[in-house]
């Protein structure tokens, strides 16, 4: 009865997530209790065990509570609505970069699949581009685009795209090469042109690989956008919020923790959107039918 199982699945996934979340929060609080009420952790505290005081590890409920309060005294807006607005802003930058990076990564993979020479020549640079720390590149990109008089969204999206294209290229290339030799022979026997073989055989075969890459890329594009916001001086995104609460960590650590959780949630939502798109686009593949 496959239908019944698939209907129950979302519920089981949600309850699984809830159970794990509660366990993690409980473990957090338990560690605090053990650290503060007992001497068990004294031997390692501050060395390789995290400190358990309220500044290093605020109570879970403090973090939630701070979401509902305005972050600045006398402010109107709660931290939650501030975070939501910033996440929406950052997501649009990340999405722009994600789309550009996906398109660029895809066509780079197609070019590589056509020409082994091109692949051998360019692949070291592609790999190298990902090895250079983002923190080193982001300011350069920002300065260059500033000199060119481009709006600040451009360097941010460019850096998000920079993190996106790599997994897309690597996975798509693998997918384009995934059809068995017989399938290629079959297309040849139909007198198919290289373009027809690409679009009717290789690209559809690469789609599952592409979607795997897109999940990685969705998360990476959010990181790229947040990091790029810092040297750009963009005020409306998550980058600014994270930086600010980092500076005020001593007086309000829970606000930084809340912002970190917010950034993580943005990544989770983005990756989930990609997963939903995958369900819509890909036909039902081989499933175990009992």
């Amino acid at each position: 009865m496959p239908e019944k199982v698939s209907q129950r699945r979302p519920l089981r996934v949600v309850s699984g997530v809830v159970v794990i979340l509660i366990s993690l929060l409980a473990a957090w609080e338990l560690y605090k209790i053990v650290g503060e009420q007992t001497t068990l952790l004294n031997f390692c505290k501050g060395k390789f065990c995290a400190r358990s005081d309220d500044r290093s590890m605020p109570h879970v409920w403090k973090i939630f509570q701070t979401l509902l309060e305005p972050p600045r005294r006398g402010g109107e807006e709660s931290l939650l609505s501030l975070l939501l607005a910033a996440a929406w802003f950052t997501w649009r930058e990340a999405l722009a970069g994600f789309l550009v990076g996906t398109l660029g990564g895809f066509f780079l993979a197609v070019a590589f699949s056509r020409s082994a020479l091109l692949e051998r020549g360019l692949m070291p640079f592609v790999v190298g581009s990902q090895t250079v720390p983002l923190l080193a590149i982001a300011p350069m990109v920002v300065i260059w685009s500033g000199q060119a008089g481009l709006p600040t969204i451009i360097p941010v999206a460019a850096i998000a795209a920079y993190l996106t294209f790599f997994p897309v290229t690597i996975n798509t290339l693998r997918g384009l090469r995934s059809p068995e030799a017989n399938a290629a022979e079959l297309m040849k026997s139909f007198a198919a042109s290289p373009r027809q073989t690409l679009w009717k055989l290789q690209v559809p075969a690469a789609l599952p690989y592409l979607f795997t890459a897109l999940r990685i890329a969705a998360a990476a594009s959010v990181v790229g956008a947040i990091v790029a916001e810092l040297p750009t001086g963009i005020q409306d995104g998550l980058g600014r919020i994270l930086l600010t609460f980092n500076q005020y960590f001593i007086t309000g650590p829970e606000r930084l923790f809340a912002s970190v959780v917010g950034s993580a949630l943005l990544g989770i939502v983005f990756v989930s959107l990609v997963a939903i798109l995958e369900k819509v686009v890909l036909p039902p593949k081989r499933r175990v039918v009992v």
């Binding site: 017989n182 026997s189 075969a205 036909p283 081989r286």
Partner: protein
């Protein structure tokens, strides 16, 4: 040569070169007349699949010449003169059965309505019309292979090249598929070149069995199979059938004795 569907003259094929080169085929001469059902039979390594691929222009011979319908294999391929079936059904898993059968017609640029009409016709030929809207994975191995045959016949080619098409099927399914192939062959009048390593399969299906031997691949002998047409269930029980099996088997054994 008006009647010859396939003509192979002095064909040799070497993979690699120099000391590492492996000679897969040596001096092959073979003529297949239109309407024939010819099996290439031999142990693995005898070059039978290589020969089939050379006929289909999927490989180029090292020397010798090949014509298909009087043309070069490349021209025949571009003219869509033949259909190809492999041991694996090689269906595109993201396409439903009907769209798999229509794939060659789509590549050809035939209009959609005509594609669908022809696709239906081909599925009727292999008696799978009720599975048009299924995905390949929802079909058994035998049914998948019937879809592959329907797809190969979609161009209505005069020649069908089959590379161990029933090799992955269980014995019962295999015999049923053989009967169906015989029916399709009679119904369409298509010339068939059929690669197999099964002696009973070759004898049951063919009008001629080309026995090949390995290292290097060459033709050890050709056996005319003049069993009555149509081949039916009882064909496998006739004494002439067993006699032919023995002739082929002796030929295979004799060819192996050669150092």
């Amino acid at each position: 040569m008006a009647g010859s569907a396939v003509s192979v003259q002095g064909v040799s094929k070497t993979f690699g070169s120099g000391a590492d080169g492996v000679q897969a085929l040596s001096a092959i001469d073979l003529v297949v007349d239109a309407g024939e059902f010819v099996s290439l039979l031999g142990p693995s390594g005898c070059g039978k699949s290589t020969l089939l691929r050379i006929v289909g222009d999927l490989l180029a011979p090292t020397s010798g010449s090949v014509t298909v319908n009087g043309k070069s294999p490349a021209q025949a391929r571009l003219d869509r003169d033949y259909g190809m079936v492999f041991q694996a059904p090689t269906l595109l898993e993201w396409r439903k059965v009907a769209r798999n059968v229509q794939l060659p017609l789509e590549v050809m640029g035939m209009d959609r309505a005509e594609q669908e009409r022809r696709g239906r016709e081909m599925l009727e030929l292999v008696e799978l019309q009720q599975f048009a809207d299924h995905y390949p994975w929802q079909l058994s191995g035998g049914m998948q292979q019937r879809v592959a045959i329907a797809r190969a016949l979609a161009f209505r080619p005069g020649l069908l090249l089959m590379d161990e098409p029933f090799g992955a099927l269980d014995e019962m399914t295999r015999e049923r598929m053989q009967m169906e192939l015989m029916q399709i062959w009679r119904q369409t009048g298509t010339t068939v070149v059929f690669v197999t390593h099964s002696i009973p399969e070759a004898v049951f299906l063919s009008t001629r069995v080309v026995v090949m031997s390995p290292r290097p691949g060459r033709i050890a002998g050709v056996v005319e199979v003049d069993l009555a047409q149509p081949r039916v269930f009882e064909t496998r029980e006739a004494s002439q059938y067993f006699a032919k099996l023995n002739v082929v088997r002796e030929l295979l054994r004799g060819s192996e004795a050669v150092p």
